[in-house]
């Protein structure tokens, strides 16, 4: 008896300890508080976490049990933390009002507990009011089990987080109020009378009138690339002058984990004279893509591997409204520190076009009108060679497409089930741009002189035109291929339309025409495979973020190769689609990650729920609720 007892005790102890060994518990304590911080030589009251601004880096290994004690020490504000990009139970997702999470009241605590089921670069931030802008954001990195690299090309000697953010003198609350007083409150680079005059001289009165009348009727500004200006852009909480520096030794490989933790800003990121290889997007591994630069939307992340050879490099992330740079350095630690940063010359800011308003294809008149215009530009103004390509480069190119898009629209109607108008568009653009690239190369010899000459006078058109230098490769969504084949390659059973709209004048932003206050949740059955179709009817780009699950971006790759994304940039006037396997039960926020768009209403709820057999509308869909079963039937 006693032997049996001790045996069983032993077995018990072994079992318990083995489970300890397998699932390490990783604990963090985060104290949210308000303190004076001094970023821009003026002390300002901001939110700190454990006394730090921005919040500290959290590190996990895949398989860990994360236990995070969050203490809200704010005096009179609820708070919350959302783990951006993480797969976890709904309650732990940290969005007040979702999954019975009620936020964290002042002077109280919440314990987040979840199993870490993935690896990669993520981040965390508040989901209460504007606290994210005020400092409640930080990086969250999950290493693969045992910190083993996922693939040979991911092997790196150094591993740095490069977190981009935008810091403002005004509090988030004040910014939101100002935007509501006047949506143009922060628009300090609007077009003036002289811009109109220049356009008249360049394009003639008639074209100018036609172009402008459209914008005027829509009551929109061509210059609205970002709603808020006056930001100081930071890397890991440091200003360009403070110059965050990552050290390396000669011949080392460096992994840089770029996180765009900004409230409102997109960036074009480059490290002049250093090629980067993108190995991960939104924390999910992708097949390596060598690039010179990439555009990172708010809340996206990209991991790149670089092999610095020189002693010093400057990391430059320029906001797409060209109002400033976030700057940091990579430096050879064996070389003496000599370099102060040098402020790069801003690239020309792009003006929005009809295409960005989604009018390129909807009305042939306007398309034609613009087409003419664009042709003019092509000969006189364009740098001729931007292999940056596709969507972006060359609006005249897109105008050429407009007629084709028309035809396609017709075709699409006939084959409703296969509608992938977007992907098709994409691939077309790609194809086009490839040929463009060759042209570009041919031209590059003589165009390389031009940009320097008319850099400031030159007008750049189209949201996606990053003014990538000739011969440089900018990352496109279509370049992204999942490193590992997607487990679920089923076609979508149905399509959910997510229309993005806005009224700049009143600063109201909507999903499917509704603010979050009036929204009806999007209902999805557990296990269902759906297509999310983001249609941008507004003239701003929206980084659309889905909580709790990864979407497979339909970027022209085969379904096994589509990359996982938690945040998709939907450029102005464009449609972007993604597939989603609804394999996480709960209520998940789906929203624009521009902070003030979200707090003006651009948010919705996607509910993934079990539906019992009686309610299932069609037999085919009820089958598919359980993937395994349906396979068995086949």
């Amino acid at each position: 008896m006693s032997i049996k007892l001790t045996q069983s005790l032993l077995v018990g102890v072994c079992l318990v300890s083995s489970s300890w060994a397998i699932a390490a518990v990783k604990e963090y304590h985060l104290n949210i508080d308000q303190q004076m911080v001094n970023i821009t030589e003026k002390p300002l009251k901001r939110i700190t976490v454990n006394g730090q601004f921005p919040a500290p880096l959290l590190e996990f290994e895949e398989g860990d049990d994360a236990v995070i004690y969050v203490h809200n020490k704010l005096k009179n504000q609820d708070s919350s933390i959302h783990w951006h990009g993480l797969l976890l139970p709904g309650l732990m997702d940290g969005v007040p009002g979702f999954n019975q999470f009620k936020g964290i009241k002042p002077q109280s605590d919440f314990v987040y507990r979840f199993k870490v089921r993935q690896n990669g670069t993520y981040w965390y931030h508040a989901h209460s009011k504007g606290q994210e802008q005020d400092g409640l954001y930080g990086a969250l990195v999950i290493y693969p089990k045992g910190k083993k690299p996922l693939a040979a090309h991911e092997q790196a000697d150094r591993d740095y987080v490069v977190m981009l953010s935008d810091f403002h003198q005004s509090s988030s609350d004040q910014i939101q109020k100002n935007l509501k007083k006047s949506a143009e409150y922060y628009q300090n680079r609007r077009e003036t009378l002289s811009d109109v005059w220049k356009q008249v001289k360049r394009d003639g009165l008639k074209n100018t009138w036609q172009d402008r009348s459209m914008w005027n009727q829509m009551r929109m500004l061509k210059t609205d690339l970002s709603d808020v200006t006056g930001y100081t852009f930071l890397i890991n909480g440091k200003t360009p002058e403070q110059n965050w520096t990552g050290m390396f030794k000669p011949n080392e490989k460096v992994r840089l984990r770029f996180i765009n933790a900004s409230a409102m800003s997109f960036y074009d990121v480059s490290i002049p004279n250093l090629k980067m290889t993108v190995v991960s997007a939104d924390g999910q591994p992708v097949k390596p893509v060598p690039v010179d630069e990439f555009r990172i939307g708010t809340a996206e992340t990209y991991d790149v591997i670089a092999e610095p050879k020189a002693n010093h490099y400057q990391i430059e992330a320029e906001s797409i409204d060209r109002s400033g740079f976030a700057i940091g350095s990579l430096h050879n630690e064996t070389a003496p520190v000599t370099h102060a940063i040098h402020m790069p010359k801003p690239r020309p800011r792009a003006l929005l076009t009809m295409e960005d308003m989604g009018h390129g294809s909807s009305s042939s008149d306007h398309a034609n009108m613009n087409h003419d215009q664009m042709d003019d530009h092509q000969s006189s103004k364009y740098q001729g060679s931007e292999d940056n390509s596709g969507a972006s480069s060359m609006n005249h190119q897109m105008m050429d497409h407009s007629s084709m898009q028309h035809d396609m629209a017709g075709m699409d109607h006939s084959q409703m089930n296969h509608t992938k108008s977007n992907t098709n568009d994409h691939s077309q653009h790609q194809a086009k741009s490839d040929s463009e690239l060759q042209q570009g190369m041919n031209h590059s010899a003589h165009t390389s002189v031009k940009p320097a000459l008319n850099e400031n006078t030159q007008v750049v058109y189209g949201w996606a035109n990053a003014s990538t230098p000739a011969g440089h490769k900018a990352l496109q969504y279509s370049d992204l291929k999942s490193l590992n084949p997607q487990p679920d390659t089923r076609p979508a059973e149905r399509e959910l339309e997510v229309r993005l709209g806005g009224n700049m004048e009143r600063y109201i932003w909507t999903i499917n025409g509704k603010k979050f206050t009036e929204v009806e949740p999007l209902q999805v059955k557990y296990g269902e495979r759906i297509r999310l179709k983001f249609i941008n009817d507004s003239m701003m780009a929206h980084p659309m973020h889905l909580h709790g699950m990864f979407m497979q971006l339909e970027n022209g790759q085969s379904s096994a190769n589509m990359p996982n994304k938690h945040t998709l940039i939907v450029p102005p006037g464009k449609t972007v689609t993604a597939l989603l396997t609804a394999d996480e039960l709960g209520e998940w926020a789906i929203h624009c990650h521009l902070l003030y768009h979200m707090s003006s209403g651009m948010m919705s709820k996607l509910v993934v729920a079990n539906v019992d057999g009686n309610q299932a509308p069609t037999p085919s869909t009820s089958n598919s609720a359980k993937q395994g079963d349906s396979h068995a039937h086949h």
């Binding site: 605590d109 609350d173 109020k177």
Partner: protein, 303 residues
């Protein structure tokens, strides 16, 4: 008369002060601008308890894999929480106020100090507009009116408004104060024309239409020219101080402002004005139409 005047003026100025005070206060205490927040903070203790239990539940949930945490109807407390939360995403109350003062002179050197206050408070859909206008001519007593309007958003760029207008003119011997009903439209017309148009109906068969429209033209980011047009059409008027029917007044002007910042903006103003004149009544003589150039300078505050 004097007493009434004094009373009216003091209430007006008091309300002005209150209004401005309110909005200043709102500006200062960023953290607690909205009333619904106080409700939340009362619930602190209850919720604390709830959290405790919740997190305990959560731990077990994690271990066993979440099967179906929620799909039944939500309890009323959840609804309340949800309601509190969704207000953070488009249900907020904002205010916007403008105060301006302008000294205007005509060709003959007669001056008038025109002051305006406009405050909007409310959500995107429902707002209250308060508009006060005071005209203080050099040789006369100040004449003023105040409008209180409920404003309902009906289309992307348009609100329908309805309310009351109170008018006071101490220069008159009778009918010194009157109340009119107002209905109108406020919004942004295509080509960025900020437009207000109202229909007024008052005693003695007074009905009139007003139209104000303006548009900004940027010379630079801060130096902004604003052409504007104000029209007043009298449809009928049998009052003691009746105006001629038809296009009663019109003012076409060009204001040039310099936005020192988005809160303070001085301006100069040149306008051409038309006035059709008054009808002959027991209290006034007929006056004929007149045109005049107006030159003005003023300052505007927005907060």
């Amino acid at each position: 008369m004097r007493i009434i005047n004094f009373f009216a003026m003091s209430t007006l100025s008091a309300s002005l002060l209150l209004l401005s005070g309110q909005s200043f206060a709102q500006d200062q205490q960023h953290s607690m601008p909205m009333p619904q927040q106080s409700e939340q903070s009362i619930e602190v203790y209850d919720d604390h308890l709830q959290h405790q239990t919740e997190s305990a539940v959560a731990t077990t949930a994690v271990k066993e894999k979440p099967m179906q945490p929620l799909q039944q109807g939500q309890s009323s407390s959840d609804d309340a929480d949800h309601a509190a939360h969704i207000k953070e995403h488009g249900g907020q109350i904002y205010q916007q106020s403008t105060v301006e003062s302008e000294w205007l002179r005509n060709d003959d050197g007669e001056g008038v100090l025109k002051s305006k206050l406009e405050t909007r408070i409310g959500t995107d859909e429902n707002k209250i507009f308060i508009k006060v206008r005071v005209d203080d001519a050099e040789s006369e007593q100040a004449e003023y009116d105040a409008k209180v309007l409920y404003s309902r958003n009906v289309a992307d760029f348009w609100d329908v408004q309805a309310g009351l207008r109170y008018r006071n003119d101490q220069n008159r011997e009778v009918d010194q104060d009157q109340v009119d009903a107002v209905i109108g439209v406020h919004g942004l017309a295509p080509y960025f024309f900020e437009t207000n148009t109202y229909l007024y109906v008052g005693q003695d068969n007074q009905t009139s239409l007003s139209l104000e429209t303006e548009r900004d033209v940027l010379l630079t980011q801060k130096l902004i020219v604003k052409p504007y047009l104000d029209l007043n059409v009298v449809l009928s008027d049998d009052s003691n101080y009746a105006q001629k029917t038809g296009l009663s007044t019109a003012q076409l002007g060009l204001e040039t402002r310099y936005e020192i910042n988005k809160k303070v903006m001085p301006f100069v103003d040149v306008a051409y004005g038309y006035n059709k004149g008054n009808k002959e009544t027991a209290w006034q003589q007929q006056s004929s139409s007149e045109n005049e150039w107006l030159y003005g300078a003023g300052i505007r505050f927005k907060f």
